[in-house]
Symmetry: C2
Subunit: 185 residues, 2 copies
DNA sequence: GTCTATAGCTAGATAGAC
DNA sequence: GTCTATCTAGCTATAGAC
């Protein structure tokens, strides 16, 4: 019997945790098997193409989550402040308040970057577009809106790096606050 | 005969290139040997503790470079705009206009993070302190100066990630411009 | 679908000649 | 100091029983 979507989603979440915390090269099949509770041969049954296919599946899962929890929220109708609050809350949860790394960052460096760059670029692009959409809603012209979208993503990624390296999750919290201010000022 | 400092510095630069482009886990001894033009056994002669010692030496080299080219410049006397221009120019060169990754970022993720975090945190801290010093010079109170120092580093790291993943070095250039504006407005 | 067992390879690291 | 040759451990990946 085929595994259910829920079971596969749980496996994807576990795989994501490994890639996110130790990186693509740092994630061994043994690590991935241990994290999922499956044996290596069972993982290969689910992902015949091996580690690369696992990371692709994880990225696809992440893209779906982002579409539902962040992009759709940001471009929906309703008060701007409410949309921002909901999306920023999701982002805060996603990164556990600044205490965990970004899976996109983990897969966008080193040899992994060559493999996954286009997928990650697409997700990054959607973040920019979604935030630029909000910027347009609060009166920015298209060019200025786009720049605000870009600087929002820059703030998130940059603050995550500092938050983790300096053990200062408050830097991520500050960044989320600054982002909201940028849009509402 | 012992190798000269220049020879060793060249080796460190080559090692840095490898770590920066493929990450710590992604850098094999074969990669490192090929890049330096030395054989593996010769690398072990220079770095008896192996790969970890090489990365430590690279970080030490980077710290020295940063001290001379960035921190000392920023906290020197002289016109603020001149200091900023010189430091930002160095940063632009360091990251080849936004086209190469940051060695600190490369070593601050995954299993490498546990090993090198404190060294990297110290370098990051100096960046923040140096930029905060400039912020103080242009009239910010200590708390506000510190936040400006932090957001400067966030801008640099975040824009580097986007610049490389999206193949958009202009995002890094924009960030450098925004940084200057932040300080002079 | 999941497992045990293992093949084949490359990793980091070392011995010892020169 | 640098080299060739080699060791062992851990890697990705597969075969085949259940």
């Amino acid at each position: 019997m085929a595994y259910t979507k829920v079971e596969q989603d749980i496996v994807l979440e576990k795989l994501m945790d490994v890639f996110r915390s130790v990186g693509y090269d740092g994630a061994s099949m043994t690590d991935l098997a241990d994290a999922t509770g499956l044996k290596k041969a069972s993982l290969y049954h689910r992902f015949p193409e091996g580690k690369e296919a696992m990371a692709h599946a994880v990225l696809n899962h992440v893209a779906n989550w982002n579409n539902a929890q962040i992009f759709d929220i940001l471009v929906s109708s309703g008060p701007v402040e409410e949309r921002l609050d909901t999306a920023l809350k999701s982002i805060d949860t996603l990164y556990n308040g600044g205490r965990v790394a970004c899976i996109l960052r983990a897969l966008s460096h080193g040899r992994a970057a060559e493999i996954f760059r286009s997928e990650i670029a697409e997700i990054f692009g959607k973040w920019v577009t979604a935030f630029a959409h909000v910027a347009g809603d609060v009166g920015h012209d298209p060019q200025s809106a786009n720049r605000l979208g870009e600087s929002t993503l820059i703030r998130i990624q940059g603050s995550l790096i500092l938050a983790q390296t300096l053990h200062r999750p408050d830097l991520f919290q500050d960044a989320l606050r600054d982002i909201k201010t940028d849009f509402l000022k």
